[in-house]
Amino acid sequence: MLHTVNKSSFERNSLQSCLNTIDDSSVILLIEDGVISAAKNTKSPMLADLAAQGRVFALQGDVEARGISSKVADNIKLVDYAGFVDLVVEHGTAVSWL
């Protein structure tokens, strides 16, 4: 499954709810204000674990919009809109954590 999160984890608990219910093969794509959680020092050990397994992505346009390109954690992969489509195709059912 593909899980998209579009809220900052400082603002809402969407990311935490997603992390609480995610299975071992799912991936997370951070979009819109969700990309704020891709920055270093946002203190989510569980997201860091998933990122280390190559299972966390962030939408590049949203990262660049917020001026945080240089802050993105090393293991989080940036994708463009075409990459977003690829993730949807590859992982089937998508869940939006709003």
């Binding site: 900052s8 819109e32 204000d33 704020i36 920055a39 270093k40 346009g61 949203d62 660049e64 919009a65």
Partner: protein
């Protein structure tokens, strides 16, 4: 017209919601009426004044440039929460170098941004006539 002290509290990141842009619009209106305006950036609001924003990829207007115009509207005080910056792994070096020009010192450019503690913000807020939160 009597002058009042207005403080605008900015708590949301830009682009994901319209709060940041709307706040900026209202700030400019108050400044045009020659009120005593200051801004505070707390929580995710600190992302509004991060240097190097480029929303081209998401098809939105880069309104971060407008913050550079605040000095020309006589808005000289932009307070930023030290705690909010620190929680996000940011420092004043990650923010835009916003300035105002001091008429009394041959238009010397002076920094507008002041990083303050939440305790100091509490005090600043209590000095206001009006606080508007976005």
């Amino acid at each position: 017209m009597a002058t009042k002290k207005f403080m605008y509290l900015n708590r949301k990141a830009p682009y994901g919601t319209v709060y940041a842009l709307e706040s900026l619009e209202v700030v400019l209106i108050a400044a045009a009426f020659e009120q005593d305006v200051s801004l505070a950036f707390i929580d995710d609001g600190v992302y509004q004044i991060v240097e190097g924003q480029n929303p081209e990829g998401i098809g939105m207007k880069n309104f971060s440039k407008t913050y550079h115009a605040l000095g020309d509207y006589d808005i000289k005080q932009l307070f930023v929460s030290a705690e909010s910056l620190e929680e996000r792994g940011l420092s004043i070096d990650d923010l835009m170098p916003l300035v105002w020009e001091d008429e009394d010192e041959d238009w010397a450019e002076k920094p507008s941004i002041q990083v303050v503690s939440n305790a100091e913000l509490t005090k600043l807020m209590s000095d206001q006539d009006v606080c508007l939160s976005f």
